[in-house]
C-alpha cells in the first residue's frame, strides 16, 4: 500500500540561467515557488547605501528635534511629595489606564504576560500561517461564535465600565460582521476586509486598543486619574 503524496513536484528548467532543479513543496504552508527569477543586487553598495541614507535622514530629524525641544527635567526626586497624577513612561500608560479598571494582578501582570505570549506564539499556529479569509469556511458557525464572544466580552466590559475598550471592540466587531455580509456585488473595501484572517482582526483590535488606551492615559488623565482635557494643564 502506498502512502498518499504529501507534496507537489515542480521543475525549473531554464538551463541558461540555472541548473535543473526539482523542488518538493510540502503542504500549503511552505512558500510556493511562483516565478523563475527574482532579481538580486549586490548588498554593497545597493543595500548598504540605502540603509545609510535612511539612518542619516533619521539622524537629521532627531538632531533637529533635539535642538528645538529640551528633554523634560523636573525638581529633585522627593519621596515625600507625590505628584498627582504620578504617571509611568508613555508606553506603559495603556497598562496604567487599565489599572484604573482592573486589579493590579490583572492589569499589571496577567494582561502584559498574555500579550507577550500571544505575540510569541503567532508564527507557530497553522491558522496564522495559511491566513485564510475568516469567512471562507464554516461561515455560519463562525458568525455564531463571533456573536457569542462579542456579547460576553461586551457585557464583561460594561460591568467594569471599561468604555474605552468597549466602544472600539464593538466597532471592530461591527466591521467583522460587515465583512461577512453576503451581497451580490460587494464593494472593494468589503472584499479586502473579507480576505483578512482571524489574526488580522485580533492584531488590529490590539493595535487600536493599545493606541486608544495610551492616548487616554497620556493626554486625558489628571489628578486622581480623573478625566481631564489635554489643555487643562492638569495632566
Amino acid at each position: 500500500m502506498s502512502e498518499p503524496k504529501d507534496f507537489v513536484a515542480a521543475m525549473d528548467s531554464n538551463s541558461r540561467k540555472t541548473p535543473v532543479r526539482v523542488a518538493f513543496v510540502t503542504r500549503r504552508t511552505s512558500p510556493h515557488v511562483k516565478a523563475h527569477d527574482d532579481d538580486t543586487v549586490m548588498t554593497f553598495p545597493e543595500g548598504l547605501f540605502r540603509a545609510a541614507v535612511a539612518v542619516e535622514v533619521l539622524a537629521l530629524i532627531l538632531v533637529a528635534i533635539a535642538l528645538l525641544w529640551d528633554a523634560p527635567l523636573e525638581g529633585l526626586a522627593d519621596p515625600t511629595v507625590t505628584p498627582n497624577p504620578a504617571k509611568a513612561p508613555w508606553y506603559f500608560l495603556g497598562l496604567q489606564e487599565l489599572l484604573h479598571y482592573f486589579p493590579p494582578v490583572v492589569a499589571g501582570v496577567l494582561i502584559p504576560t498574555l500579550v507577550i505570549l500571544g505575540l510569541i506564539v503567532i508564527p507557530y499556529f497553522k491558522i496564522n500561517i495559511e491566513a485564510e479569509g475568516l469567512w471562507t469556511r464554516n461561515r455560519t458557525q463562525r458568525l455564531r461564535i463571533l456573536a457569542v464572544v462579542t456579547a460576553v466580552f461586551a457585557v464583561f466590559l460594561a460591568v467594569f465600565h471599561v468604555y474605552a475598550v468597549l466602544i472600539p471592540t464593538l466597532l471592530i466587531a461591527a466591521s467583522m460582521f460587515f465583512s461577512a455580509r453576503s451581497t451580490p456585488s460587494p464593494g472593494r473595501f468589503q472584499v479586502w476586509l473579507a480576505s483578512k484572517p482571524l489574526s488580522f482582526w485580533i492584531m488590529s483590535w490590539f493595535l487600536v486598543q493599545a493606541a486608544i488606551l495610551t492616548l487616554i492615559g497620556t493626554f486625558f488623565r489628571g489628578p486622581g486619574w480623573s478625566l481631564v482635557m489635554p489643555w487643562s494643564g492638569q495632566i
Binding site: 504552508t29 510556493h32 511562483k34 516565478a35 523563475h36 527574482d38 532579481d39 538580486t40 543586487v41 549586490m42 548588498t43 554593497f44 545597493e46 543595500g47 548598504l48 540605502r50 540603509a51 535612511a54 539612518v55 533619521l58 539622524a59 532627531l62 528635534i65 533635539a66 535642538l67 525641544w69 529640551d70 528633554a71 523634560p72 527635567l73 523636573e74 525638581g75 529633585l76 526626586a77 522627593d78 519621596p79 505628584p83 504620578a86 504617571k87 509611568a88 513612561p89 508613555w90 508606553y91 497598562l95 489599572l99 493590579p104 494582578v105 492589569a107 499589571g108 501582570v109 505575540l119 510569541i120 503567532i122 508564527p123 507557530y124 496564522n128 491566513a131 489574526s199 488580522f200 492584531m203
Partner: protein, 247 residues
C-alpha cells in the same frame, strides 16, 4: 603634485599594511563588492546579494534599519553622557543640571539621547506591526519573529531603566508606579521588586542597579540579539519581499 588625492588613496590601498587589514582589496567588480560584505565581520551577517524588490520602501518602510539607527545614535550619545554622570543620590540630579548649564553641548546630548529613545520604542513597535501585517513571520522566519519580540522587550527595559537616571520627580514617580506593579505578581511579587530595586522603595540602590542594567547588561544583550536577528534574516532566506507574481 602630479598625484591626485584619488591616486594617493589608491596607492594607500595597495600597501602591505592596508592589505593586511582589508584582504579583499578594492575594485569595480561584483567579486570585490561581494568580498567587501563577506570578509567583514559585521557586514557578513548579511548575504552578499539581496533581492531587488526587498529594497523598495513599500516593503519594509526601512523600519528595522531605522530601529538599528536609533540604537546606534543612543550608544553614540550614551557613552559621552556616562562621562558626566554619577549614579548616586543626589549627585545624579546635580549632573543633569551640569549637563544643562556647564557641559558644552550637554543639553543637546541629553535631548538627542532622550528623543532617540522615544523614537526607538515607537520604531520597534512599528516594525513589529509592519512585519505582522506583511505576514513576514511565517516559516521559515518564525524564530526570528520570537527574537524580535525579545528585542521589543529589551527596548522597553532599556527605556524604562534609563527613565530613572535623571533622578528628578518625573523619573522617581514613574519608576515607583511601574515597580509597584511588580509587587502584584502572585506569591513572589514583593521579593522580585526587592531584587529589582535593592530595597522596598525606589532609592539609591535602585538607581545604581538601573544604571548598571541600562549601561552594561541590557545594551550588551540587545547587541547580541540584534546580531542574531540580522544573521537569521540571511539564514531564513533574506528579507521577506512578498509573494512573487507570475511574469
Amino acid at each position: 603634485m602630479a598625484n591626485s588625492l584619488a591616486e594617493q588613496l589608491a596607492n594607500l590601498r595597495d600597501t602591505r599594511v592596508w592589505r593586511s587589514i582589508f584582504r579583499s582589496g578594492f575594485g569595480p567588480t561584483n567579486l570585490h563588492r561581494a568580498l567587501a560584505v563577506q570578509q567583514n565581520v559585521f557586514l557578513h551577517l548579511s548575504s552578499v546579494k539581496i533581492r531587488k524588490r526587498s529594497l523598495s520602501f513599500r516593503v519594509t518602510w526601512f523600519l528595522g534599519t531605522l530601529s538599528l539607527g536609533t540604537f546606534l545614535i543612543l550608544v553614540a550619545t550614551g557613552i559621552p553622557l556616562m562621562l558626566y554622570y554619577h549614579p548616586s543620590v543626589p549627585q545624579a540630579y546635580a549632573d543633569m543640571k551640569d549637563l544643562r548649564f556647564a557641559v558644552s553641548a550637554g543639553v543637546f546630548l541629553r535631548n538627542l539621547h532622550r528623543w532617540s529613545a522615544h523614537a526607538m520604542v515607537l520604531l520597534v513597535f512599528a516594525h513589529l506591526f509592519k512585519v505582522f501585517y506583511r505576514g513576514a513571520y511565517r516559516p521559515p522566519r518564525e524564530f526570528n519573529w520570537v527574537i524580535g519580540v525579545v528585542l521589543l522587550m529589551l527596548t522597553l527595559f532599556l527605556s524604562y531603566t534609563g527613565y530613572l537616571l535623571p533622578w528628578d520627580q518625573l523619573a522617581f514617580w514613574a519608576i515607583t508606579v511601574g515597580s509597584n506593579l511588580i509587587s502584584a505578581v502572585p506569591v513572589f511579587g514583593t521579593k522580585i521588586r526587592f531584587l529589582v530595586l535593592g530595597g522596598h522603595t525606589v532609592n539609591a540602590n535602585a538607581l545604581l542597579r538601573f544604571y548598571v542594567l541600562h549601561c552594561v547588561v541590557l545594551p550588551l544583550a540587545a547587541a547580541i540579539f540584534v546580531a542574531i536577528h540580522f544573521w537569521r534574516i540571511r539564514k531564513d532566506g533574506g528579507i521577506y519581499s512578498g509573494e512573487i507574481k507570475k511574469p
